[in-house]
Symmetry: C2
Subunit: 210 residues, 2 copies
């Protein structure tokens, strides 16, 4: 088994934190994104989508996409559960993880990718070039401000994003705050005290320092 | 239990087809999207996110987001499985469903929402107004053309999107073709023979006519 990744990339962080929470160690190989190693023929022959993270199983099967890699390890090593316990709980974790992604992570990534000069023709991850759309930087920042506001309000009633326990929804939420909004220099507003409490709590977990 | 939906909306289609494949019947209430019923105080008090589909359980718990509603029914009624059987298979279904969404469904929905005159200030679903970004219409159409091309190539080697069996990945793929690309008047190109074969096969399932 081998994990192809670039450790500081936000989607790779989501997988590394998940694995650390489960206490799973996987041999990994760094794909140097700043040097566009993901677009080389060598990596294309492994993953034609040219993305990281990507997990290669021992029989050669390649699993891409964060949610799919999470699902693999959650089913193979259920404890501790990070995607929910029973039907209702699994649905609620899926819902909250999804909201972290749709409301925060994806608009934030869009703002970053449409902003960085080095990604002028690489506004979308994947094998093909797409031009940047500057309006998405501004919209992404607006969405992140709404995301902060909504999440602060939600966390006034809930210890973690999906309820009483730490789950994958906290991983996506925190990576959005730290690695995505951080790059855009969007700190948590001072008056978002619940978001600050949760953020400090989550940041103190050993899994967030791998 | 009650499902709030607007039957022809693409995300509601994804849930209805999934339920029909499992043979599950759920009482439903139509939320009239063209009349913006999702933004009324009455519906906001049920779902502050102002989206459909939304599933209310008997204890009052509200589950929004297609993937979360799917997860609930997959766990509560596992047969026939639509999200995979064992760990590897579940990961692969998650991966393929995700690709259908990221490469096809979401860019297609973006093109539609940034195009329709009636949605001028409603470019994003949810409680807040966001202005349209016309460049997303053009980009979405480009992405859909790439999506058709890639999916045709993939289906030359696979009966269904995630392998030998029909899964949720086929639902998202087909809804993208039929309800999203259809609205943009983007038919399947004649030379995409594998995509046509799969599309005709899937369209003939009774679940796609509910």
């Amino acid at each position: 088994m081998r994990l192809y990744d670039y450790p500081v990339a936000p989607n790779c962080r989501r997988v590394r934190i998940f694995l650390a929470e489960k206490g799973i160690s996987v041999p990994s190989q760094t794909i140097d994104l700043p040097r566009q190693e993901q677009l080389t023929p060598a990596y294309r022959s492994i993953n034609p989508r040219c993305t990281v993270p990507a997990l290669q199983l021992d029989d050669g099967t390649l699993i891409t996409e964060v949610l799919a890699i999470w699902r693999y390890f959650e089913e193979a090593e259920p404890e501790p559960p990070l995607l929910g316990r029973d039907a209702q709980d699994k649905a609620l974790v899926t819902m909250w993880e999804r909201r972290m992604e749709l409301d925060g992570f994806l608009p934030g990534m869009e703002a970053v990718r449409n902003f960085l000069r080095g990604l002028r023709s690489r506004a979308l991850a994947g094998p093909r070039d797409y031009a940047q759309i500057p309006a998405l930087v501004e919209r992404g920042k607006l969405q992140l401000a709404d995301f902060f506001f909504d999440l602060d309000e939600h966390l006034s009633r809930s210890p973690y994003v999906a309820g009483a326990e730490f789950t994958a929804a906290d991983i996506t939420g925190f990576v959005t705050l730290d690695f995505v909004a951080g790059r855009l220099k969007l700190p948590i507003p001072d008056d978002h005290i619940h978001l600050r409490r949760w953020s400090e709590d989550v940041a103190s977990r050993p899994s967030f320092h791998v």
